[in-house]
Every structure is written in structure tokens, then in C-alpha cells.
């Protein structure tokens, strides 16, 4: 989307070189970069960033995809465990632990336009710390975020390659599931306990469509509807997708929603448990989440494709 990255670097390489050697007194020099972030804010960066703090797991995923993980000096307590993050200090982003973040002495803070409070930009601006909200409202936003992040962090080529690879993977999936004549109906649940879901315009509904599913909650205008059991029973989805975490998903669902025993999805065992880090963090890993859903929802499609490949 347009509001994401109109990241025209005004003086590209020249300003990069100039920026490397600049100091606050040489303010007449052109900035390293001027860009528009996911919230439509204009962000001016005087220097190439070397100490980046991510205050959204999605932003961390984008940095990783862009090949800039070595620039990170801190991530959030909500980030999932990963080997490449194990050495990094963790800070609270919700609620924002400003002191802990500033103590990491960042020269760039990366946030998500889907998760972080827009007003937090004022806090960092007051401290002269550039803050960029990475867009993740749509796939195009995510792709552009990867390229922009790679460019800022000095790994532009790697970022473009990663974005192209993800784009290609996504297109392959859409092409594969596009052959399904009548996509099965499905609902997505954030948790097996309370029926939080995603409404119209959510990235999760896009992922479900890529996976060849017909998301029933697209009818809700609210972004995070809490589904009523009556509605679920009446809708009778063919498939229930969720981020149910460890354990038996069916048992967890039925212990919290005993009346769902009569749903077709439950009776036929069509419950898809997507790994939480892949699906609940808007970002590049969502492509893998869509593939995970598609493989579980349409095994016959993949079997025939693999047979044909052999």
C-alpha cells in the first residue's frame, strides 16, 4: 500500500558515505535517509543505524528476513525463542518499557503498525531516536518493509532476494490453491479458550484465502470479533484453524466449547493447529503459515502435485 514505503532515499550512496563520518555539528550535510513509514510518517535518519531495537515480534521477523539480525541490540519479551535472538536483551513493548529500551542506546527503533501505539513515536522523537513503524497491513506492506529494512541496515540485496523468494512462494501457493473449485469454509481462533478471531481486512483472512480456505469471519466489520458459540454452531465451518499451541487442540477446544462436538470440523477431525510464531505475528513468516494451513486443509492437492513432480 502506498502509505507504507515511499522510501525514496534522497541521496542514496553519497549520503550514506557522508553519514558515516558525520557528527551532530555537521547538520548541513544531507541525511542518510528520508523515508515514509507504515503509518505515513516521514522519518529522517542522519546516520546508518548500527544499534536497532525491535519492539514488535513482527519487526524482528522482518529484520531477520532482511538479513539484518546482527544489527539488533534488543527485542521484546513477546518475541519467540530463536537461536539468533538468544543473546539479546528483552524489553517489554506492551506496556512500553521506555527506560529499558533507551538503556540499550539504540539509534533506531523498529515497530509494527499493527501492534505498537502510534503515539510512542513522540516519546522516541523527544529523545532524538528515530522510530520506524513497519507496515504489515497487507502482503505488499510486508514485502516493502523487508526491502526497506534491508536497505537501511545495509543488506539490501539480501532483503530483495528474500522478498522475491517469499513473493514467489506466495504466488506458487495461490496458484496451487486457485484450482480448488469450492474452498472449504473455515474460522480462525486465536485461542482454544476464548473465541477471539479476526474480522474483515485482517492479514489472517488473506493467509486463509491463499491457503484455499473461505474465511467465514470476513462478515464481521470489527477487527477482533469474539465469536459467539451460537454463531459458530450455525455457521458450521468445514475447518477450524487456530493458534492452539502445545497439547491436544481438539481436547482443548471441546473442554472450552463442549457444544462444538456436533460441528462438521470437529467430527471429521478437520482442526488445523498452526504454530503460534508463524501466524500470530504479522510478517514474512506468514507465508509459511499459509503453506502449513494449505497442506493440512488440502492434503490431496499436495499429494497429486508431488506425484506429478515424481
Amino acid at each position: 500500500m502506498i502509505r507504507v514505503l515511499l522510501y525514496g532515499f534522497l541521496v542514496g550512496g553519497l549520503s550514506f558515505i557522508a553519514g558515516c563520518g558525520s557528527n551532530p555539528e555537521t547538520s548541513s550535510e544531507a541525511p542518510f535517509a528520508t523515508l515514509t513509514d507504515g503509518l505515513g510518517r516521514t522519518v529522517i535518519m542522519e546516520q546508518p543505524p548500527e544499534r536497532v531495537v525491535s519492539i514488535a515480534p513482527g519487526a524482528t521477523h522482518v529484520v531477520r528476513a532482511a538479513g539484518g539480525i546482527s544489527s539488533l541490540v534488543g527485542v521484546t519479551t513477546a518475541d519467540y525463542d530463536a537461536d539468533d535472538l538468544s543473546h539479546l536483551p528483552r524489553v517489554s513493548a506492551l506496556p512500553l518499557d521506555l527506560e529499558a529500551i533507551v538503556a540499550l542506546d539504540p539509534d533506531l527503533v523498529l515497530a509494527s503498525d499493527q501492534v505498537n501505539d502510534p503515539s510512542h513515536a513522540n516519546l522516541f522523537e523527544a529523545l532524538d531516536i528515530p522510530m520506524i513503524y513497519l507496515g504489515s497491513d497487507s502482503w505488499e506492506d510486508v514485502r516493502d518493509s523487508i526491502v526497506m529494512t534491508g536497505t537501511i541496515l545495509g543488506s539490501r540485496e539480501e532483503a530483495i532476494a528474500a522478498a522475491d523468494s517469499l513473493e514467489s512462494s506466495r504466488n506458487d501457493l495461490i496458484s496451487l490453491t486457485g484450482s480448488i473449485p469450492s474452498p472449504p469454509s473455515a474460522i480462525f481462533l486465536v485461542s482454544p479458550i476464548r473465541s477471539y478471531s479476526f474480522g474483515k481486512g485482517s492479514y489472517v483472512l488473506d493467509l486463509m484465502r491463499w491457503a484455499g480456505l473461505d474465511p467465514l469471519t470476513a462478515e464481521f466489520d470489527t477487527p477482533a470479533p469474539v465469536l459467539d458459540d451460537e454463531w459458530v454452531l450455525l455457521s458450521n465451518p468445514d475447518i477450524i484453524v487456530g493458534a492452539f499451541g502445545e497439547g491436544d487442540a481438539v481436547e482443548a477446544l471441546l473442554s472450552n466449547h463442549p457444544t462444538w462436538r456436533s460441528l462438521d470440523a470437529v467430527r471429521k477431525g478437520r482442526i488445523i493447529n498452526v504454530p503460534v510464531p508463524l501466524i500470530l505475528t504479522p510478517g514474512p513468516d506468514n507465508v509459511r503459515a499459509a503453506w502449513h494451513m494449505a497442506r493440512a486443509a488440502h492434503p490431496e492437492l499436495f499429494e497429486s502435485t508431488e506425484r506429478a513432480a515424481r
Binding site: 462478515e219 464481521f220 451460537e230 457444544t259 456436533s262
Partner: protein
């Protein structure tokens, strides 16, 4: 209102229970044909249980029916506790939610649900008992703070209630925010607003029993409660064991509120609106106020819950939002009165 008039109103309230429960059964998050709902209920009444896998019958029998009955029970119970609290403190502004009792019950239940009660205690109690203990703690503190020099200060009572409610809400908020289990956090945050979405048949027996027994006990105490309204000394002179009565009311209020909050979350202002409305019809005699409040409270809660379901079709809306929207203006109106004492 004359005795005959009171009888007529009580009969009308009793007669309206079935139609109101019918409204609760007819309207829900989704639209079902009325004939189907009725037929399913009739069939179930005569032992014709629908076959497994009948989703529409499940909506009627496993979701709406226990939910509607639970709404009636909780509405009745909270109204009844409101009457008891108001008699105890001799002021019509008292109510489990306003006085922090519901908040205490919520905090107790939240601590239990989030697994933050020490194991050696948690292993010996359940969520209802945890809620009861939280409620008992709250009401005891509020009462002790408000009482001084043998008198109960209304302003101190309300302020202590507000303070305890805030304190207990802070505990509930802390345990939910501090929890590492996001799923439980989401569930508790929703439940704290008051909701009947998770009601199952297994929730009903204890709640109904406690409410029924509590109602019977309070009805048997109608005369002492009437005497208490005129003050502790006059009540003593009439032979009422005031201290025992007060302790009994505190225990009973905490027990009923704790059990009800453990199944529905904290639903506010019902115990304020309903007794006040009933008194405006019946006067202050508990012989009439108690049954009137029990009946009207149940009816009000069923209607409020039905409204909460149809406001956002297909989605859950906590009923506590509806009762607060009705109750807060009512509470403010009462506060505006220069003399909020029983007439």
C-alpha cells in the same frame, strides 16, 4: 401501595417469568425459527432428546437454556444481595459491585484461574471458594473501615467500597498482565466484564442452590431486617441480635456473590437498580422487597443478557456492559438526592 396491590404486582412478576425466559430463549446471537425453538423445548421436556450432532438443538438446549436460566439466577441473587447489603448498612446506595465485593470475588477467582494461589491452598479449594474468600475479604475490610464509634458512615462506606473495588481491580489486572499465558489472559479480561457466554449446565446447580437457600434465609429474616433499618439500638430493643445478624449478612452476601461471580464474572449495578425500583413500588418492608427484588432481578438480567446478544450479532458482548450502561446513570441519579436514606 396497598397489600392487595403488592400481591398483584408479585403475581404479575411471577407470571412474567415464563414469557421473559421465552424472550431469552427466542433471541440470541443468531436467529432461529421460533417454532423450532419451542418444539425443541417441548420435545426435551417430554424426554425426546435430539440426536447427537443436531447443532440447532444444541444451540437451544446446551447454550441458550442454561444461559437464560443462569442469567435469571445471577440477576436474582445479586439483587437479593443488594437488598441484604442495603439493610446491613442502612443505605440504598450499597451494592455488591459498588462496595467492592464483586471486585473481591473477581480477584479471588482470577488469582485461582491464573494459578497464582499457592498450590497447597489451591489444591484444597475451587474457583467458587476462591471467589467467596475474595468477596469476604472485601466486604469485611469495607465494613470495618466504614464503621467507627458505633456508627456506620455512609461517605466512608462508599469511599471504602470505591477504594476496595479499585484495589481488587488492580489485583485482577496485575495477575492478568503478569501472566505468561496469553490465552488465559484474554479469557480473564473478558470474564471480568461479566458474561454468561461460558455457562454450561454444570454451572447451574451450585449457583441456583446458593441463591435459593440465601433467598430463603433472607426471607426468614425479613422482620429483623426491617428492624435493622430503623437503627441498631431500636433493633436491639426489639430483640434482634444485631451483631449476629450483621455477621450473618456479611457471610451470606460474600457467599452468594462469590458463587455467582465465579460463573458470570462481576456484573454491576443490578443490586442497586432492582431493590431501589422494588422499594419505590412496595415500600421498605423486606417481606415484599425481597421477593420482589429476587423476581425483578432475574427478569432484568435475562432481558439485559438478551440485549447484549442481539447488539452485536454473531459476537460476544459482555452483559456487564449493558448493566453498567443502565446502572451508572441510575447510581448518579441516586447520588444527586440530598438525602439518600430509606424513607
Amino acid at each position: 401501595m396497598t397489600g392487595r396491590g403488592r400481591h398483584i404486582v408479585i403475581i404479575l412478576l411471577v407470571a412474567s417469568i415464563v414469557p421473559v425466559l421465552g424472550i431469552g430463549m427466542a433471541f440470541g446471537s443468531v436467529s432461529l425459527p421460533l417454532g423450532f425453538t419451542l418444539q425443541t423445548l417441548v420435545d426435551a421436556t417430554f424426554g425426546n432428546v435430539p440426536a447427537d450432532g443436531n447443532r440447532l438443538a444444541d444451540i437451544v438446549l446446551q447454550i441458550r437454556l442454561p444461559r437464560t436460566l443462569a442469567a435469571f439466577v445471577v440477576g436474582s441473587g445479586l439483587s437479593m444481595v443488594g437488598v441484604a447489603m442495603q439493610a446491613l448498612v442502612r443505605n440504598p446506595l450499597a451494592e455488591p459491585y459498588v462496595l467492592g465485593i464483586s471486585g473481591g470475588a473477581s480477584a479471588g477467582a482470577s488469582l485461582f484461574y491464573m494459578g497464582l494461589i499457592p498450590t497447597f491452598i489451591a489444591a484444597r479449594i475451587d474457583i467458587s471458594l476462591a471467589a467467596f474468600l475474595g468477596a469476604l475479604l472485601s466486604i469485611s475490610v469495607v465494613y470495618l473501615v466504614a464503621r467507627g464509634g458505633g456508627r456506620l458512615s455512609v461517605s466512608r462506606l462508599l469511599l471504602a467500597g470505591v477504594a476496595l473495588a479499585a484495589f481488587m481491580a488492580a489485583i485482577s489486572a496485575f495477575v492478568t498482565i503478569a501472566s505468561e499465558d496469553a490465552n488465559k489472559t484474554r479469557a480473564v479480561l473478558f470474564w471480568l466484564m461479566g458474561s454468561f457466554h461460558d455457562i454450561t449446565w454444570s454451572d447451574l446447580p451450585l449457583a441456583a442452590t446458593v441463591t435459593l437457600l440465601g433467598g430463603l434465609v433472607l426471607m426468614s429474616l425479613s422482620r429483623p431486617l426491617d428492624a435493622l433499618l430503623s437503627g441498631e439500638e431500636p433493633a436491639r430493643s426489639l430483640g434482634v441480635r444485631v451483631e449476629g445478624l450483621k455477621k450473618g449478612l456479611i457471610l451470606l452476601s460474600a457467599l452468594v456473590t462469590g458463587v455467582l461471580v465465579s460463573i458470570s464474572g462481576a456484573i454491576g449495578f443490578v443490586g442497586l437498580i432492582i431493590p431501589h425500583s422494588v422499594r419505590s413500588m412496595f415500600g421498605i418492608s423486606h417481606r415484599w422487597v425481597l421477593p420482589g427484588s429476587i423476581l425483578l432481578g432475574g427478569i432484568f438480567m435475562v432481558l439485559a443478557d438478551t440485549l447484549s446478544q442481539v447488539m452485536l450479532p454473531g459476537q460476544q458482548l459482555p452483559v456487564g456492559i449493558v448493566t453498567a450502561l443502565c446502572g451508572v446513570p441510575f447510581f448518579l441519579m441516586l447520588l444527586r438526592r440530598t438525602n439518600y436514606q430509606f424513607k
